[in-house]
Amino acid sequence: MSADTMPGPLSAVPLRPRSVARRRVVDRLVTSLAWLAAAFGVFIMGWIVVTVVGRGIGAINWAFFTQSPPAGADLGGGLGPCIVGTIVLTGFAAVIGIPIGFFGAVYLSEFGRTGRIATAIRTITNVVLGVPSIIAGLFAYAILVKPLHHYSGFAGSVALAFIMLPVMTRAAEDVLNLVPNELRESALAMGAPRWRATLGVIVRSARAGLITSTILAVVRVAGETAPLLFTALSSPYWLNGLFGPSGFFGGPVANLTKTIYDYSTSPYQHLQQLAWGGALVIIVAVLGTNVLVRLVFQRGK
């Protein structure tokens, strides 16, 4: 290479510029499409909420929360037992899923970190996160319903816990990972044993995030239907005791989602109305909690 070849292009072929205008038009077009796509997503979200509120609001009254579903094609009635049942099923699932998920997250973030075991468990957790919820239902059916020859709320809770567990583990681990290492080290440098440093300092400093993770993990399963299809089934009766035919361990337990499913596919107008009312209760609970938790958590940041 010599100095006099430096200026200008080497090749004899002159450079033919591409049209800047055309590139710009493509850019504008894509930008508009992106806006359109986002608007579409937001619009759908709004449409669903408006539909559920619009159709469900008419069903909401005192009886809706206090009365049992109507027998046969009777009018009136409410979804009282279903609301109670869903709360109990979800609550018991949380009793199983949340502590295990939490301590699992403590292992991943405090002990395992980037080790091979932790990486493997993290991957498995991610995979379980993607297990279809109906499979969780089949699992609980096979271990708790089939051998005992009867449906039970407990089986439903186990299926829900199976779904909740990986959600909690991953969310809690992410929160614990945000705790600065200095805090961890200074707690241990004080001579605190590992368990006290973890529970007293690290978990406490991540408290807000852990509460958020817990709430979101619990709410995440509250709207599930598929895991209950062959486990808790549903029933029109109030939950009654533990081991009787209407008990938590003894028989089918009323719940919102399965009832919504049955009623919305029924030919009776008033049952469909009840179903929309149930859908409204669920969407208010689930979306409301999500929004609320985000608002509180973000303000805390």
Partner: protein, 330 residues
Amino acid sequence: MRTREADIAGASGGGRAGARLRRSHLKLADPAFRWLTILCAAAVALAMIALTGVLVGNSWLAITKLGLKPLHTVAWAPSIGSYGALSSLFGTFVTTLIAMVIAVPLALAVALLLVELVHPVLSRVIGTTIEMLAAIPSIIFGMWGIFVVVPILQKVEPWIQSTPLGRLGLFSGPPIGIGILPAGIILALMVLPFITAVSRDVLGMVPTVVKEAGFGMGSTTFEVTRRISFRYALSGIAGAVFLGLGRALGETMAVAFLLGGVFDRLPHSLLDQGTSISATIALQFGEATKPLDVSALIELGLILFLITMVFQLVAQVWLARARRMTGSRA
């Protein structure tokens, strides 16, 4: 220095018994705590193993009795002894395909908007709103599909049939609204938030200097995104797509509502009715009377489980690659 240590040792000498007690207590507490957490972490893995075992065990009857027959039989009709899985498999894959064809471009466009085109505050608002779609229970998607989307399709489908598109055969048959098409559409809306969120995150991890270099060469925003950011984020986006794919494959309730529950043949067109693996399980479980029926349904579940597992693992591999490339832990 040494004398001070000795002093301290001497000072604590008075309560020696107490100190020893506490220390031995700690010696146990720390490993115990560690083992508790390990056990809980392993619970997920154990559950996974148990799940696999239980599914295999419970479908064993069907596996031994029916062999490979379900895999090359179309109709699911236990009353006549036909346990075909093809109708279910076909519906699962076709609805998932439709969902991905709709959701992936939408999600990438939204991610592009969120990362490159709008003010961070607005980006957050739009992003959160779309993420909220993931919080809507699938049964509500199903109801909304049946009561809102299907009536719209009943009006749109005859119109599509009257256009040249109608002659393709894809849109043949009576336009009753329920069928493969609405199931695919609803699935697309359900996986949209997942693919959007992950794509947005991986696009956000593209180093600023690389993007600036792209703009510095005189690229438009779209050119930087398509030629540089997407390439950079490719493995992450692939992970996002497989994640969405896995979700779509296993989705039950919304699809059970919308597919129309035709178990004994393959659908003829997008407007025809059909079933999917999860819909067959959900809708046929109540009718399963003989042990073989139940076992065959659980075998269907096992097939679904294995398929989604493969896609989830592929997703994890891609996401891990994306993480390695950007050097982040999250």
